[in-house]
């Protein structure tokens, strides 16, 4: 008698398992005709929000002069000590010099091996010289390549999808020619 009971309960169990598994399967099947959520990166562009804190760019003003005045505030605000700056003076008149002020950054490096992309440098900068771009593709082969210098950071500006150089910035942008990032800004 008890064997019979056991068999009955085992069969019941199997039926129950099959039923609930089929129920789960129905969820999976119902997803097949719906829109795919995956993006075939890198063939398709990824959508990125404007606030995204990606690789920085150093800004220039509307005349194409570097905004950075080498005040070291970004380096002081950086929690990861990722920024290295050497300041210098350029006494030439405005039209000839590269910075918008007499003081400019001779060396400006960000070590992306240290940077944690917190954005405190951007908040701190009094001249809006340093900004977060939207680049996130920076795989390299050696750690040393993660240290990005000033020319690289300046050229990063022209990679931003919505940056269009003004007439006065045009020669500079042509000199620092960069491919646009393959992203959609939202």
């Amino acid at each position: 008698m008890s064997i019979l009971k056991e068999i009955v309960s085992a069969v019941k169990e199997v039926i129950e398992v099959a039923r609930t598994t089929a129920q789960g399967m129905s969820v999976t099947l119902s997803h097949i005709p719906t829109r795919k959520e995956t993006v075939s990166y890198p063939d398709d562009a990824v959508t990125i929000y404007r606030r995204f804190r990606g690789e920085h760019f150093l800004d220039v003003n509307e005349d194409g002069k570097e905004r950075c005045v080498s005040c070291f505030l970004c380096a002081a605000a950086c929690p990861a000590d990722a920024i290295y700056i050497e300041g210098a003076e350029d006494p030439r008149p405005y039209a000839e010099r590269i910075g918008m002020d007499h003081r400019y950054a001779k060396v400006y490096q960000i070590d992306y091996g240290r940077c944690i992309l917190c954005g405190f440098c951007v908040d701190a900068c009094p001249t809006d010289a340093i900004n977060h771009g939207h680049n996130f593709e920076w795989a390299v082969y050696t750690p040393g390549e993660l240290v990005k210098d000033k020319s690289y950071l300046l050229a990063n500006k022209w990679r931003e999808p919505d940056v269009i150089p003004t007439d006065k910035q045009l020669p500079l942008a042509a000199k620092q020619k960069q491919d646009k990032l393959n992203i959609i800004l939202k």
């Binding site: 169990e13 129950e16 398992v17 039923r19 609930t20 598994t21 129920q23 789960g24 129905s26 969820v27 999976t28 997803h31 959520e37 990125i48 929000y49 404007r50 606030r51 995204f52 804190r53 005040c71 505030l73 002081a76 605000a77 929690p79 990861a80 944690i116 992309l117 917190c118 954005g119 405190f120 908040d123 701190a124 009094p126 809006d128 977060h132 939202k186």
Partner: protein, 411 residues
């Protein structure tokens, strides 16, 4: 069944004992640190008799980052960049605990809108954190598909974080005195869109995993910890609520205005993996409810930062025009602010349990000491008590059910 009779001491002394060399049925196996089911780099030393676990000894420290020490080097405001890196799945919860502690020490009141933003984002973070747990826990037990659906939803949640704070995981969005920027204009609509789609996802989960008989058989009665033992071990969060203890810091010591929200604390009484599973599934629903209420409250604009002059960076236009404002900006950005001498403990309910920040200030620009009471660490310590005597396959289920994050364990 011989293993059931062995009385297993789970005190620290048991860690020193070696398996009986004369017994040829016992074997010591190392599970992890490179094991997908240990959710990070946890190593478990398992003493087995056949398939039965006789002793389990967690070996931690592989992910030690020295974050508590690092905090002593950072300025008060910069510390939020490392708090979020401890428990990387629940980063805004960690930030919140720290900033609340410092605000308590300074006696700063934050505007109502800030409190609501913080509630909204921590609850959203609780959802995304539980989604990772749901996906990985189901996958550990053998349900592969649930993982993909959970991560699809989580991705949408992370997109919202990206929209509001600029980073998907390490937001560093909460700072002492408020939040760093106001919400972006379309954020509440995106949030509503996400919240509207969420119940149908939960419903799918119920059909896919909760109702599944195999899943239930794998989890019911496994890894049981009694109510008394759970209290003795000092467990917190969903792990203790699965053992029938109705204890949630959002209710018992409300912070950031949680007392003004209408939500329930799900409690289940069996103390097994299944109970803990149900607690978290219900919790996602409750978080969804809280988010809904918070979105409605945030529709009206308001200040996003307390106007304490030492906390808020000056308006950028003013700063560029007036030299005195510029000097103030320079001092704030380079030296930060000081916090009165004192010490404070502030705990909040993170996705894993009570995360507490004990902050000591010596009156300087940097914390003198920050000690973190990490929920994962305490919950993990009860793992041997849960798995000893059960089968080795159940260890995987139990680890999943206490939902540890190794970054939180080791700090």
């Amino acid at each position: 069944m011989q293993a059931k009779e062995i009385v297993v001491p789970t005190s620290a002394i048991s860690m020193l004992r070696k398996p009986d060399p004369l017994s040829d049925t016992q074997m010591t196996v190392s599970m992890g640190p490179q094991h997908p089911s240990t959710h990070g780099v946890l190593r478990l030393e398992l003493v087995l008799d056949g398939e039965t676990v006789i002793r389990a000894i967690p070996d931690i420290g592989y992910l030690h980052t020295g974050i508590e020490k690092t905090m002593e080097k950072e300025k008060w405001q910069q510390v939020v960049t490392v708090t979020c890196r401890m428990d990387y799945l629940n980063s805004s919860g960690n930030d919140l605990g720290y900033v609340l502690a410092v605000e308590k020490l300074m006696g700063v009141e934050v505007p109502k809108r800030v409190r609501d933003i913080r509630v909204l984002l921590t609850e959203l973070n609780r959802i995304t954190s539980h989604l990772v747990w749901f996906g990985t826990h189901a996958m550990d037990i053998g349900a592969m598909t649930a993982f993909f659906y959970a991560f699809t939803q989580r991705e949408k949640g992370l997109d919202l974080f990206e929209c509001v704070s600029g980073a998907r995981l390490h937001q560093s969005y909460f700072v002492v005195g408020g939040v760093r920027w106001d919400l972006p204009p379309n954020f509440l609509d995106l949030m509503t869109e996400f919240l509207d789609g969420f119940p149908s996802f939960l419903d799918e989960c119920k059909r896919l995993v909760t109702g599944n008989k195999i899943f239930q058989r794998r989890t019911k009665g496994v890894g049981v910890i009694s109510k008394e033992a759970a209290i003795d071990w000092g467990l917190s969060g969903p792990t203790i609520r699965g053992s029938g203890v109705d204890w949630d810091i959002r209710k018992s010591e409300p912070y950031s205005g949680f007392d003004t929200y209408d939500f329930n604390v799900p409690v289940y009484h069996d103390g097994d993996v299944w109970s803990r599973y149900l607690v978290r599934m219900d919790e996602m629903e409750e978080s969804w409810k809280i988010c809904k209420q918070a979105v409605e409250r945030l529709r009206e604009p308001g200040p996003y930062m307390s106007d304490h002059p030492k906390l808020k960076l000056p308006e950028r236009d003013l700063m560029k025009k007036h030299i005195d404002v510029m000097i103030h900006h320079f001092l704030l950005a380079s030296e930060g602010f000081t916090v009165p001498v004192g010490e404070v403990y502030q705990s909040i309910e993170s996705a894993r349990g009570e995360i507490g920040f004990y902050v000591v200030s010596d009156g300087g620009e940097r914390p003198y000491r920050v000690r973190v009471r990490a929920p994962s660490y305490v919950n993990l310590s009860a793992l041997p008590a849960m798995v000893e005597g059960s089968l080795i396959a159940d260890v995987v289920a139990v680890i999943g059910s206490i939902d540890i994050v190794l970054g939180d364990v080791d700090r």
